[in-house]
């Protein structure tokens, strides 16, 4: 059971959250065209290491939070609210 630091509720167990995935992809403008939407929906950096991702605190504050998590070690470095930015980089 991982611990996810919710910026609103504090450290909470992972089973209070639903996972969505990559938080670096942004929904394109409606007229951006098929390729832009294809990239948004389908293609992923899928890094081995630090990964910014969406977690939904569905059994808590119901906010979609951004979490910076390491896909190799499962360490969590930072989190932020849905409209907030994560820190620049994690070593």
């Amino acid at each position: 059971m991982h611990l996810i630091p919710c910026p609103y509720c504090g450290q909470r167990p992972q089973d209070e959250f639903h996972y969505r995935g990559d938080a670096t992809v942004k929904r394109p403008a409606p007229d951006a065209g098929e390729q832009a939407f294809y990239d948004y929906v389908y293609t992923r950096e899928n890094p081995r290491g630090w990964h910014d991702e969406w977690w939904h605190h569905y059994a808590g504050c119901r906010q979609w939070i951004k979490v910076r998590r390491n896909t190799l070690t499962h360490a969590v470095a930072a989190s932020a609210g849905p409209a907030d930015a994560l820190p620049e980089a994690t070593p």
């Binding site: 929906v41 992923r44 899928n46 081995r48 070690t73």
Partner: protein
């Protein structure tokens, strides 16, 4: 379509086993050599798992291309090839999948003879259970699709399931069993033996299997691949095929490509060995649980993904608790059995749960990946189709739909309809 096996110098046979035993087993040769890499090859296969080794074997045996190297960052067969639950089946509903997996199953059926290695392919049947009328209809759609394509499938009712698998809690309060779809030709095989068998067969035909040789770059020149950078130096190649389940995105990045793939964790479990209890492979649709019993006697089982991107091969407890709950719900007599070991593999999850075996925008570079959690059963078919694609620079009809472009074109092969959500597939 299969090439005739060439005579192998040190063929395995019962007679040989006996004569060797009389000389204290001193005469056995290594199953594969440990060669130094040559400066260049016609084809380099990146990835010494089941798929990569099978590709090399079929390049040599079917297409006569023997100047081939398989480069592997560690020892062969210790990625997903050595971490799966060994299930073999072709019970898919969408024709693009059925075609491919059925060809793979046909190859399985002759694999021992082709490889002169007992991979213990055991056609003990794969039974998919369903738990409601609408699940039955969806399952029947799949079974009928299989039958129309000439693949074996049978629909069992409750009583037939009870007779076949008396250990199942058929009246489970939340997931009553309504029936099952049985593919008798499905079953299990011994995963390590598949790796070793392909390695030995490829090696005997001249393929160099180069272990402890990690690819660090894919060298290109004018839109064409010319070889790979490795921890043991540059190795030239006219063509490079990548088959690195779990790490496909990393290799794609080396080639400047971005794929519709996420890496996820899948756990598997084995119980202590017990006397025969479960004869076929059984999967439970509702409880996300599948199980079979190995020849050694251990119950081998698994379920859902852990549900977040990961390259760690470290499982997590929530999934364990859920899965064990499903196990006891479906097979109450499992409760007192002890689980001996747990392990995890990295799955390349695509955005429609189906794989790709295809060319790439870079000439001479081919990708084989996105096997989600179905890669083991695909091993011979994947190697065969990948070899064909590399040898002819064009796919075979069996893998013609298994492209990456299908996502761009809206021709997803989404068996479960889960959509572009890898964690939900």
């Amino acid at each position: 379509m299969l090439a005739r096996p060439e005579p192998i110098a040190d063929r395995y046979s019962a007679w040989r086993l006996l004569t060797e035993s009389l000389s204290s087993n001193r005469g056995w040769k290594p199953a594969w050599r440990k060669p130094e890499p040559k400066p260049a090859y016609d084809v380099i296969i990146v990835g010494g798992g089941g798929h990569g080794l099978a590709t090399a074997h079929y390049l040599a045996s079917v297409h006569g291309i023997t100047n081939v190297a398989v480069v592997e960052k560690g020892p062969i067969g210790l990625g997903n090839a050595g971490r799966n639950t060994t299930i073999v089946r072709s019970n898919y509903g969408l024709p693009s999948n059925t075609r491919f997996y059925e060809w793979s199953l046909k190859l399985w059926e002759g694999l021992e003879q082709d490889l002169n290695y007992n991979v213990m392919m055991s056609q003990r049947g794969v039974l998919n259970l369903f738990h409601s009328d609408s699940q039955r209809d969806a399952t029947a759609r799949r079974g009928n699709s299989m039958r129309l394509q000439g693949v074996d499938a049978e629909l069992l009712d409750r009583e037939q399931v009870r007779a076949m698998a008396p250990f199942i809690a058929i009246d489970n309060p939340m997931f009553p069993i309504f029936g099952g779809l049985l593919q008798r030709r499905g079953g299990t095989a011994r995963h390590d033996a598949v790796v070793w068998g392909f390695a030995r067969a490829a090696d005997r035909r001249g393929v160099d299997i180069i272990e402890h040789c990690e690819v660090t770059g894919i060298r290109r020149e004018g839109g064409r691949v010319i070889g790979v950078e490795t921890t043991r130096g540059f190795i030239g190649a006219k063509k490079v095929g990548v088959a690195v389940a779990g790490n496909t995105s990393r290799l794609a990045t080396m080639a400047g490509l971005k794929l519709p793939v996420e890496s996820h964790l899948l756990q598997a479990f084995v119980s202590e060995a017990i006397k025969p209890m479960i004869d076929s492979v059984v999967t439970f649709g509702a409880g996300h649980f599948y199980i079979s019993q190995s020849d050694k006697g251990g119950l081998v089982f698994g379920g859902d993904l852990d549900g977040y991107n990961s390259y760690s091969q470290r499982g997590n407890l929530p999934l364990v608790e859920h899965l064990m709950g499903a196990a006891v719900s479906m097979i109450p007599s499992m409760s007192r059995l002890r689980v001996l070991r747990q392990w995890a593999g990295i799955m390349d999850m695509t955005m429609d749960s189906s794989p790709f075996i295809c060319k790439t925008p870079i000439d001479g570079l081919y990708f084989n990946g996105g096997w989600c959690y179905g890669g083991f059963k695909a091993t011979p078919g994947s190697g065969w189709c990948f070899a064909h694609t590399i040898a002819n620079d064009a796919p075979h009809a069996f893998n013609a739909d298994l492209t990456i472009e299908r996502f761009r074109d809206g021709r997803m092969i989404d068996e479960r309809g889960a959509g572009p959500n890898p964690w939900a597939q």
